[in-house]
């Protein structure tokens, strides 16, 4: 692992030290992002397949009711685009946590934790760095989505930025929280399947909740309490220059709760102990 984080042990813990730490973590994430171009493209291919292939089959399925925040009838592509933005953030959040498990197993986490700065701050920096890197993918996706008729108002691209950051933090915190309870890399892969897919499918990302309600009341209830539904709605509203306060409250609250739990539950020794006990 490289040693790009240049924080001197005896440096006073002033704002510059904090910034230097954040910059170091962000640089590391960015370099990792640049060196793994395939990861960038695979993260884009997934939502694009949904947008171009899946949505084409369901094109005529929607357009039967006007739902907030839209002012008129929309194509299915337009409907699922915000959910797919959140899908990018979801996969990135989880993948970042996966890298935490990896870092822990490889011991590079210890290098990071040598920093004299509070552990909570280091973890938040890691979350923020992942969120910022994810934004590049989301905006690339939105730019490509223009070609299939997903053209929100121009100001919407700006208005959606804080919503995307908040959602990215929420999903990153969730991933971090989960990584605290995972002993090994292999376990985490399984958890991804049990978390990502239920979260994505039990949400308003692919279908409006009123449609879900037609099928089943309890499925509707599950979707309603899923924070990913609120994340999708927050992004959807912001993209069309509106705000859903309910979605904002749920996403902000969930971010806070998972951040606190993740920081409190984070144990850099977990992977090492597991390694010592048995085969990795």
């Amino acid at each position: 692992m490289n040693n790009r984080i240049n924080i001197e042990a005896k440096a006073p813990l002033n704002n510059a030290a904090y910034f230097s730490c954040f910059y170091g973590i962000l640089s590391r994430e960015f370099l990792r992002f640049v060196s793994q171009r395939s990861r960038f493209f695979s993260a884009l291919i997934r939502p694009l397949l949904w947008l171009v292939v899946f949505a084409a089959g369901f094109r005529a399925a929607l357009g039967i009711a006007i739902i907030e925040p839209y002012e008129t009838y929309i194509t299915y592509e337009v409907y699922i685009a915000p959910g797919l933005c959140c899908m990018i953030l979801l996969f990135n959040g989880m993948q970042s946590s996966l890298s935490m498990v990896y870092d822990r197993e490889m011991g590079s986490m210890r290098v990071l934790l040598m920093s004299p700065l509070p552990r909570g701050f280091l973890l938040i920096c890691k979350l923020a760095a992942t969120a910022l890197i994810s934004l590049a993918q989301v905006y690339t996706f939105l730019a490509i989505a223009l070609f299939v008729g997903v053209d929100p108002p121009l100001l919407g691209y700006l208005a959606v930025l804080p919503a995307l950051i908040l959602v990215a933090l929420m999903l990153g915190a969730l991933g971090l929280f989960m990584s605290s309870w995972i002993k090994q890399l292999e376990n985490f892969a399984g958890v991804m399947n049990f978390v990502i897919f239920p979260m994505f499918f039990l949400s308003s990302a692919l279908y409006p909740l009123w449609k879900m309600r037609e099928a089943s009341e309890w499925l509707y209830w599950l979707c309603s309490v899923n924070p990913f539904t609120h994340a999708t709605e927050l992004v959807r509203h912001a993209l069309y220059l509106k705000i859903s306060w309910e979605a904002f409250a749920v996403v902000a609250g969930t971010t806070l709760v998972f951040s606190v739990l993740a920081i409190k539950g984070f144990n850099p020794q977990r992977g090492m102990k597991a390694k010592g006990k048995g085969p990795a």
Binding site: A60, G63, I64, I66, E71, T72, Y73, T75
Partner: protein, 328 residues
Amino acid sequence: MKATQFIRSALPAAIATTLLTLSASSFAAVAYVSNEKDDTLSVIDLDTMKVTETIDVGQRPRGITLSKDHTKLYICASDSDTVQIMNLADHSIIAELPSGEDPEQFALHPNDRHLYIANEDDALVTVVDTETQDVLAQIDVGVEPEGMAVSHNGKWAVNTSETTNMVHWIDTSTYELVDNTLVDQRPRHVEFNKDDSLLWASSEIGGTVSVIDTSTRQIIQKLTFKIPGIHPDKVQPVGVKLTSDGKYAFIALGPANHVAVVDANTYEVLDYLLVGRRVWHMTFNEDESQMYTTNGVSGDVSVVDVDKMKVTKSIKVGRYPWGVVVKP
């Protein structure tokens, strides 16, 4: 002293400006929409894009048209077998014209007096003088007459008959049917271009729009429509609207829930705009920057930004909106 002078000179100007602003807002353009199933008209304020009033009218209102000075609205109350005249100053019905049975569509002659009414059940076109309320003529046409248009120069009145599949050409000076043009199945609506050289006729079952040369009364172009992902049977052209600059034609495609945008010179379909369910008829605002479509099944009016060719809003109105006009 200077302050007093300033108040004296500026105050009246300020008051005048305020009054002008107020009067402008109180006379904002409105759209009238006939709701076929509710026996009502919805009034939409085009500044706020909200329904401000719903007015009871005769039974099954369908075709509606404005008088030249925009003070009167003519309403085809189909099941009341009459054409009602509404005074737009107070929304009262001031007269009922002897329209013949089941009037569905009509067209007002440029002389602002003669109303050409299609009587669907009687295979007739009735011409009524709106001032004297006399029936001037009744002209035999094909079975189930529907679409009606009068050329801008007032020379031609054109009617379509749904079952005979013809466009009937009536000379307005003699009230005689002088020619017929065979078009595709169930012609529903006709529209002259600005200089009256061409007539656009939609065929609902045929799924086509015929462009007819007015001088020869022959079809010079037939348009077809293909919307990706939508079954061809659902593509049923009804309303036709042409921009006065001669650039675009808009075709309402009924249960396909789309409006086709056509280059009026090359006849190429440029785009399909998603609107509400079963889009029927359309109209422009005064400067043609916006177009409004009535969507029967979804019970709303969609607003199209003509410059951007984008549907910006859909406004809920009554049940089965049919016709729409804009009072500037």
